[in-house]
Amino acid sequence: MNTDPIEQKPLDADIVCVGFGPATGGFLTTLTRGLETIDSRAMPGLPPQVLCYERADDISFGVSGVVTRARAIKASFPDLDTTEIPMAAPVRDEKLVYLLDPHGATRRPALMQFADKVIEALSGLLRVEHQGFAVPFCPDFLHKKDGFIFSLGQFNQWVGQQVMMTGLAQIWPSTPVSEPLIENGKVAGVVLAADGTEVRAELTVVGDGPIGPVGRRLDEIVGMPEGHKRDEWAVGMKMVVDLPEGVDLPEGTVFHTLGYPEPEIFGFFYVHPGRVASVGIFVPSWLESPVRTAYRYLQHFVQHPYIWRYLKGGRMRSWGAKSLLESGRRGEPQLAGDGFARIGEGSGSTNVLTGSGVDEAWLTGVQLAEGVLELYREGLPFTKENLEARYVARRRKSWLEAEGQIAEKARNGFQRGVLQGFLGMGLAGMTSGSLSVPRPAKDKTPGRLEDFYIGRLTRSQIDTIRLRCELESEPLHDALMDACGWPKIEYDGQILVSHQDALLMGGKVQAPSEFPDHVVIRNEHVCDDCGEKMCIEICSGEALHIAAEKPAGRPGFDREKCVHCGACLWNCVHENIDFCAAPGGLHSAEN
């Protein structure tokens, strides 16, 4: 083989996919099963050339412990044997648990405090144990009882290996895509971030998730459909734990939790095979706190007596975080255009009522692949019209759309308050979406610190904390939570570790040296007038921090700590952050 450097020139393919997650997994699985009899249009005589570029350094470095009904996944693999997939198991025991507040530090509405008192008073009758009340029924719309527990990283790896072994698709890890290639108003492929290589393809499949640069750029170019917005988000943060000796929860055990560490924060606990559990929380954008911190809240969550009785003495194996687009169908972008189609979470497929996204994402990929195979067989081009007829129409006729419509308004109530939110979810779930709590004219936005802490901290207390944190280059959330009565975290070196140790022990975070910073503050002067700096408070890896070397209060960025969760992007109220394509991030295959 010639070892001379290869000349820089555009690469030609038939289909180029951006991002390898469950949606692209569904797409490639379905596509490769039908490709063998089809001729490439880019390279006649060969099968279609299908390339997939994944930003992360391995296809197993996704992040999400997932419990899913897996209807679409099971349709793709009717004989699915979960023992083939590490960390997968059928759901066996599923509970919805309301967690009481053991410290009195959460911000509970008065009605919720009253409910807590009633539950405590009737604790014997209601079988309250370890300050958790297992709701006697799990609403039908929430249950996953016929489904599976997965580690998404392991599932992706399993799917990716099978796809690649067909020889009909190549999945390239550690290859971020910077933007779509636009020519004559059409998407003509993608541009790779590493060296600016143009990859030309008749069809670009965009499955790069809600914070992916290709999807976001397409939204800028083609605009969102009328009335659609991406304005509801959450940070999902989790750890994978080796359960301690003596804890014999059966694999397949699932707890969904609510009520703690804040009423707005939902939690989960899944038991995988091999005495391993995934435990985590979702911190939503409608949590009004300007010092949202998923990590500190996660530490309190795992120590809740209901959860801690299973975890105490265990050991963190893995840790990670990601942003979730919680706008559901309302966040659906233009699904198809000339030369491109959108699939997966970034295409608004997540069902915000059932709290399910992986299976829905998989289905969008399957539906697109079925449409693409039809177009190939009929010799038709990948135009907007053809893709809408073969992909979007399929999607509209499926359970994904029907259930997405039911869920569309289910979370409106959370824009008014947490109880209205629960009421809205219940109404939408019980009436198949016929009833819902109306969305207010103006959505909730994070308040100023001084307003948020009224009645708990005085203005002078906040000023003192702010000054001290600025001097010590520390984020505000720990100091504020300490001052509000949250107990300090006593590190045990196993599960309760510093945020930085979680990055190293759990996330194994990496950042290749040859790439520039991928998080860029557009105009640092804007930060001077930003009182809350939510980008720093929310940052899942403490990558964004108060930079001692910069003028007071301006954020600095350490890419060696970034887990690519993208939370900074939607938490900067000034839209002053660019989040660019880059490899690296989490190196855990267990999330």
Binding site: M164, T175, L192, G274, E514, H587, S588, A589
Partner: protein, 267 residues
């Protein structure tokens, strides 16, 4: 001088993962070994980067990588390695990891090398790591050389240059933090590399695409390779004890860090 550079390199679990030895029905293994992402063995990686550098400076040279491991894992790892430099893959579909027997592995590798169409021993430089990151037996490359009848062998190599007269000048690590410099008149030779001096090349997607055109067929027809499971028995396996105290710092002078580490060791 054009060389046929053949790099022997296996897979290793990504060292950032949680590794835990367990006993399986077929002997020792790693807990959840199936789910561990793999990387190209770091020692062999150094050999590969040095091979690329040599090939660049010796026009007409070729690089072939002979790799033994589970086919699906090989494919996954090659999607990253293939982006770094041009080479051809000879894939052997068999067991990987740290518990295989070095004698069997060396036989599989030597047989595969000898079977390469057009293999010319007189031009051959057999590269590899001086040990593997999985077990560190440090004997496989010597045995590969012996089986191929190549007796010029250099271990823990950090540098290779080619004299104008075609002689190989090789710098090997020896005791006491010193190097031994040897001169070898010509190929063939076995070079088992230590770290060398070259950094990991950045990914180059076009190189990866070009490599994959020939690698995909090679992976599809990877030769099933069985090793003798009874060749070695382990009485006990364990991870070394580790004490971990982490502190993240930035822009701290190396001398300060060294002083702090020294103070910590003295405690």
């Amino acid at each position: 001088m054009a060389y046929q550079i053949i790099v022997c390199g296996g897979l290793a679990p990504d060292p950032l993962q949680t590794l835990e030895p367990v006993t399986t029905p077929t002997g020792p293994g790693l807990k959840n070994e199936l789910m561990l992402p793999n990387v190209f063995d770091p020692w062999a990686g150094h050999a590969l980067y040095e091979a690329a550098n040599l090939a660049k400076n010796q026009p007409g040279s070729t690089i072939k990588v002979v790799s033994l491991g589970p086919k699906a894992k090989l494919q996954q790892v090659m999607m990253t390695v293939a982006q770094k430099l041009p080479f051809e893959l000879i894939a052997l579909d068999g067991p990987g990891g740290g518990f295989t027997d070095a004698v069997s592995v060396s036989k599989a590798l030597a047989d595969a090398i000898a079977a390469i169409p057009g293999f010319d021993k007189s031009q051959a430089l057999i590269f590899g790591g001086w040990e593997s990151a999985t077990r560190g037996a440090g004997v496989v490359m010597q045995m590969v050389g012996e089986r191929l009848g190549i007796t010029e062998q250099f271990l823990a190599v950090d540098e290779l240059t080619v004299d104008p007269d075609g002689a190989l000048v090789i710098k090997e690590r020896v005791e006491g933090g010193k190097h031994q410099i040897s001169k070898c008149a010509a190929a063939p030779a076995v070079l088992a590399w230590a770290t060398g001096s070259l950094p990991e090349p950045p990914n180059h997607p076009q190189t990866g695409m070009a490599n994959m055109r020939v690698m995909m067929p090679a992976l599809q027809k990877a030769k099933p390779t069985a090793l003798d499971p009874a060749a070695i028995a382990y009485a006990q396996v364990a991870l070394p004890a580790v004490t971990r105290q982490t502190r993240i710092v930035k822009d701290v002078p190396a001398a300060d860090i060294a002083a702090e580490i020294a103070a910590w060791i003295k405690q």
